[in-house]
Amino acid sequence: MKLRSARIVNFRLLKDLTLTFSTASARPLTVIRAANESGKTTAQTALLWGLYGSRSLKGQGKSFPLHPSDAILRGQSRVEVSVEIDFEMEVATKVRGASNELINKIYRLKRICVERPVRGGGFSRESERLHLYEVKSNGTTPIDETEIDSVIESAIPEALKDVYFTDGDSTMSFIEAAATQGVKRQRVRDAIEALLGLRYIESGIKRLSTIAKRFADELDSVDYRQEYERINDNIISYDEDITEYKEEVEEKRQEVDDLKKSEQKTREKLDAALQLGNKDELVQRRATFLKTSKTAEDSLDAAIKRLANLTRNPDVAFSIIGDEARAGSVLLKEMSDKKLLPKVSIPLLEELLDRRSCHCGASLDSDSSEGALRRAHIQTVIKESIESDKQSQAATELFYSIRSEDFGAVAHDKWIKEYQADNRDAVQQDSQLRAVEKQIVALNAQIDGIDDSDVKALRDLERITRNKIDAHSARINELVGLIREYEDRRRDAILEREKISTKLQKAGVSTAKVDTAQLCQKVFQGVLETLRSEELSRVSSEMNRIFLEMIGSDPVQNSLSTIRKAALTEEFDIKVYGTGDHPLDPDTDLNGASRRAITLAFILALTKNSKVEAPNVIDTPLGMTSGYVKQSIVKSLIAEGSQIILFLTHDEINNIEPIIDQKAGVVFTITNPAHYPRMLANRPTVDDARVIRCECNHRNSCLICERKSASMEYKE
């Protein structure tokens, strides 16, 4: 992968800065001349942010504002920050059938976010998004969002970003005394393992260990053969039971059918028997009729009695003997008319004698002469009456006894109406009684006609049949439930048997799997060990070569060389050895240049061994170096790297101009106008804080980038 260019907008001081990089193989060096505090580190940070986002920033970027610091002052409440990187890399593409070819593809990456600055230094970042395009001759093609990360990872793996994007001071961390030995080792180890992808192998080993363990766990101590037989026996037993139950169900169902037919016949017979009449019901009806009959009988009896009493009814007699009675009564009347019938006065006369006065008012008082006279007369009359003949008396009695009686038609009328009413009543009662009696007779006949024993027997039979049907039905339900339950158990047992069968098969397979997993694990472990040892050795060897090259030491040809070897130990210590393989403390026994050299040599050795073709972007790598070592470092960087991008100060460029002349494909300068007037010679052309690019190379300057020289500052 090679960087082609980068446009940085509103990334701190880099308000609108375009960086261009050399991709020419013959001139792999890009020099960006920048004084201190001119945005070198910011530029590198911007490139990292562009590639990997906020997670590449210190503290995940939460406290790392990206927007220009003067945004608030300039009244900007919303700042869009963007970094656009063009890069190229070789991609294996299947062409012409099966064969793969490496094709150089150009990509454009653009990362954007919005920051809202807040007075006091706070801010919020939002809407961070990443776009990736493939740049073709006919335009750009967006890369699917899901593939962006993999493309970037293919370009420069994120784990290696600190190796490829570094600065001279950071590289010193591998050997600096400030860190403990453990920390230094870990840094070296991390760098080696990241670059060589050893972490992936370690991760693979762990995964294989987990798999092997899982396979091993599957190898339990259960006797699956015995279990299989047991389940098989159960299945056979279930089959037998199910068959037996099903047969019984069929039998019962047949029996129920037969019983239902029998029940139907019984019911028909019962209905036929009951059509003659329900005896109980008929008996009840008869009882009702009997009551009615009794009432009618009593009423008729009363009516008849009333009729029978006519034999003692005087009106009957007087109407029947009307003519005869008339003759006699005529005679009596004649006698009465002739005064032959004594007045029925004797009682009256006798009553008068008991009175003091007559009814007419005449005195009958015996004390008076008139009264006494009258009394005497009355007594005489009484005596005369008594003395009348019995004939007259009898006639008189008879006359007066019949005087108020009616005879003939009148007497007839008197008894006939009552007789007719009683007669009608009697007839009605008699008729009703006859009707009721008729019904009773009919009921009796009906009742007698019912053979109760048949009905009872049929009812009993019906009840027994129904009970049998119910019992069989209940049994059928029970059996159906059992069949269902056993079928479920059978199904479960079959599944279990299949599982056991599978386990039996797997038992043989699992062992092989465990063995395979363990073997793979061993292989990977071996690879790791080999990589570690071999690659370590290779890196060590390479580091040594590059280091000695850088510092100009040739211990083979010059036994006086004070630094004879640099090595990377198995403990991941970077060691430098002096005369007699005496270990030298890099932090104390090496000068600054050598320290820079060893660490850069280590980085270069790593990148070379990793076979990852990626740019080395190094900020001020040549600090504390000079002369041969400085030049050697630059040459080694150019020789060992595929694309070298160096941010160099003016001082770092001193004495390597020829190298830059020969090997740099792109050189330009970035200037911070804030250095005016202290360090910059000319007033800046911008009125805000921003880094400005000019095309001045390592040998010239312009109004933008001209710096004041020391002679200018200290003019005599």
């Binding site: 009896d301 029978a308 034999t311 003997i321 005869e324 009596l332 006894s401």
Partner: protein, 152 residues
């Protein structure tokens, strides 16, 4: 109340019809009894026979073969019967002196009864009539109706 001149005399019914008379005068109190035996007492039969004989103007009959069934005092329970017998006797005799001869009147009545009894029984025994009581009442009705055209 009228005196009972017949109190000291006995009343008789013909022996020949005794059984029938007993049948028609059974007083059991049952409905069927009254229908079959419409006369509560023998005296009621005797008097109905008297009425029947008078109404039909049957010739009095002598029947020595008779039996005493009760004393004349029974007539006091229905005094109108006494008056009826006397009235009929008076009407037939045309002479009030008959009223002084209770035996004579009673004999007359008895002879009428004797004459009427077989007829009465034949009416009661009429097979066309459902029950003797209905036959008797029918007889009463018929005999009574005959007087409708004759004013008092």
């Amino acid at each position: 109340m009228i005196a009972n001149p017949f109190a000291s005399f006995d009343l008789f019914l013909p022996n020949a019809h005794k059984e029938k008379i007993d049948k028609f005068t059974k007083t059991s109190g049952r409905k069927e009894g009254a229908l079959i035996s419409p006369f509560p007492r023998q005296i009621d039969f005797w008097f109905s026979a008297f009425l029947f004989g008078v109404a039909k103007n049957l010739a009095p009959a002598d029947d020595r073969d008779s039996y005493k069934f009760i004393q004349g005092t029974i007539l006091s329970t229905d005094p109108y019967r006494i008056a009826t017998i006397q009235l009929v006797a008076l009407g037939r005799a045309g002479d009030p002196s008959v009223l002084t001869e209770p035996k004579k009147m009673l004999d007359m009545a008895s002879r009428i009864v004797f004459a009427a009894t077989p007829f009465l029984i034949s009416v009661l025994d009429d097979p066309e009539e459902d029950k003797p009581l209905w036959a008797l009442l029918g007889l009463y009705e018929t005999l009574s109706a005959k007087t409708l055209s004759t004013p008092k």
